[in-house]
Amino acid sequence: MIDIIFLWIAAGLTIAIFSFLYKDNPFYKLAEHIYVGSAASFWFLYLWYFDVEPKILGPFKELFKTYGFLKMWPHFGPTQWILFIPIFLSICMLLRFIPPVAWLSRWAIAFTVGMAAGLGVTGALQGFIIPQIQATILPLFEKDILTSFNNIIIVVATICTLFYFFFSKEHKGALGLFSKIGITFIMIAFGASFGYTIMARVSLLIGRIHFLIYEWLGSLF
């Protein structure tokens, strides 16, 4: 019985979201607000159960169980002590609730932005530039004509696209020509990528319509 009630709720929410396609209406508004409200709780619980709790309380758990809160401190090793850095940063963040010291939250942001910069450099170099260059270093002429042809096109597309992103020179003359070829390849790529994605998106809609017909309406008959 309880399953049936929830099935109806699920179907109701599905239709409410679809109704948005016609125009904004009370049903969509309700579904949207329920969604945003419950998502806040859901991700809060998720983040705490799967990430924060094991990462921050996990290392203290055993010590806390054996020694209790007051006596566990002398037993902390580097694993425990180092966690006080993120705890400190988190407290800095929460200090935004107290306006006179709210500026401390910038320390935490500064750390994360520094992280972004560090990860940005290493990720871009090791994850993208070098592998992509490695993959572009291809033999232009091989015994197989088709492979040669494909390789040439890949290389021309890569280099011309790079020329399109030249900022410090006006796009005139040879640079202009290359960057024009580049943008042509970019557009072909975008078209292909657009066409390629449609199928996956339609699959999702098929799933929802199937749910409505067979699981929800199907449960009536």
Partner: protein
């Protein structure tokens, strides 16, 4: 025939040979790799068992089973070692009830390395790029640097102006990126410019956020933009808010804001996933001017299709330099361009070498390609 078969099943299999143990390179320690030559009867055995002994007070401990490996395997990575302890290994070939053991391997000690040799090419390229950038940073003080037109960025002021004329607020969407991702920071620097313009035009700007840290940073940024415009009084705390940590909850919420607040201009700047088109199409349906920008290559086609102006990939990163015209930022853009030329030269060189390699069949010409082989 029968006797031969029985004999065949009863004799113990020949053991593997030449067992070599070595510290696993380019790691933090704690790993030893073991290689061996297969038993000559590899195709008939059931499996190999790999044993390890460690030296405790000058005595070898009892062998400990590490793993059972299927036939045909000649490599094992023992990632459960302690640094500075001596280990040796042997491999047992097993066939039914019968088995035979290999000789002991050499004694090996695991250790951590202070330099990752396989990343040499990364380091060299990083140094070269940094040098280029510093060179132009130094030159920046002396000369005016040129930057080509980026239509999407020129449209920002126009969009803010038109939205103000219509008496509608602005909507700025930073996408799903966290603050630990560069595109988000690029988006924030565009946000600052838009917020400043909003201050000058006395228009409201709404910024719903996905990531809580981005929310905090965005609210500082908008406040700063209004201060720069000389109108800190116009900054409304509640207009920059955290909306949802759920991808489609965020999309649903932003769609709702679009339909109810009717912004005149929408900026989509940051890192986006599948929700990009949900946002851009709804924005289009309310008739707002939309300026999008992302480095998410898979989402760019949708922005191109559904928004009025799109900053494609790198253009978005160039935005902060373009908007502020700050000499130091422009210098890095110039440095970037020269690195591009360098990379094109490297690729061209590599193409020639690989073509020669494919015709002569000599491996030596692969050196440039191999140099860029990294992990």
């Amino acid at each position: 025939m029968k006797t031969i078969l029985i004999f065949y099943f009863l004799i113990p299999p020949l053991p593997p040979s030449n067992v070599k143990a070595n510290d696993y390179p380019n790691d933090a320690g704690g790993k030893i790799e073991i290689k061996w030559e297969l038993s000559p009867m590899d195709s008939t055995i059931d499996c190999y068992i790999i044993f390890r002994q460690e030296k405790i007070k000058d005595k070898w401990s009892l062998p400990e089973t590490l793993s059972i490996l299927k036939r045909g395997t000649n490599y094992f990575l023992d990632s459960n070692c302690k640094d500075k302890i001596e280990y040796r290994y042997f491999i047992r070939a097993v066939k039914g009830e019968e088995f035979s053991d290999s000789e002991f391997s050499n004694v090996a000690i695991s250790s951590g390395q202070w330099f990752h040799k396989k990343r040499t090419s990364v380091l060299i390229l990083l140094i070269v790029i940094t040098l280029f950038l510093f060179y132009f940073l130094k030159r920046a003080k002396k000369e005016e640097l040129f930057i080509r037109k980026i239509p999407g960025l020129d449209a920002i002021d126009e969009a803010v102006g038109r939205s103000t004329e219509m008496g509608r607020p602005l909507l700025f969407i930073l996408g799903l990126g966290t603050i630990a991702e560069i595109p988000t920071i690029a988006g924030l620097s565009i946000l600052k410019r838009v917020a400043k313009k909003a201050g000058e035009y006395e228009t409201d700007i709404i910024v719903p956020c996905f990531d809580p840290l981005v929310y905090v940073a965005a609210s500082e940024t908008v406040k700063e933009g209004f201060i720069e415009a000389g109108r800190p009084d116009l900054f409304k705390e509640g207009n920059v808010f955290f909306l949802s940590y759920d991808q489609f909850g965020y999309a649903a919420g932003v769609d709702g804001i679009m339909l109810r607040e009717r912004p005149g201009a929408i900026f989509l700047q940051g890192y986006f996933y599948a929700e990009s088109l949900i946002l851009a199409e709804t924005g289009n349906s309310i008739g707002a001017i939309q300026i999008s920008g992302t480095t998410a290559v898979t989402q760019l086609p949708f922005f191109i299709a559904a928004t009025d102006y799109t900053l494609i990939g790198e253009e978005m990163y160039a935005a902060s330099a373009y908007l502020t015209r700050e000499p130091l930022s422009l210098a890095t853009i110039k440095g970037e361009d020269y690195v591009k030329i360098l990379l094109i030269i490297i690729i061209t060189l590599g193409l020639i070498l690989e073509t020669i390699a494919s015709f002569t069949g000599k491996d030596i010409f692969h050196f440039l390609k191999n140099f860029f082989e990294v992990i």
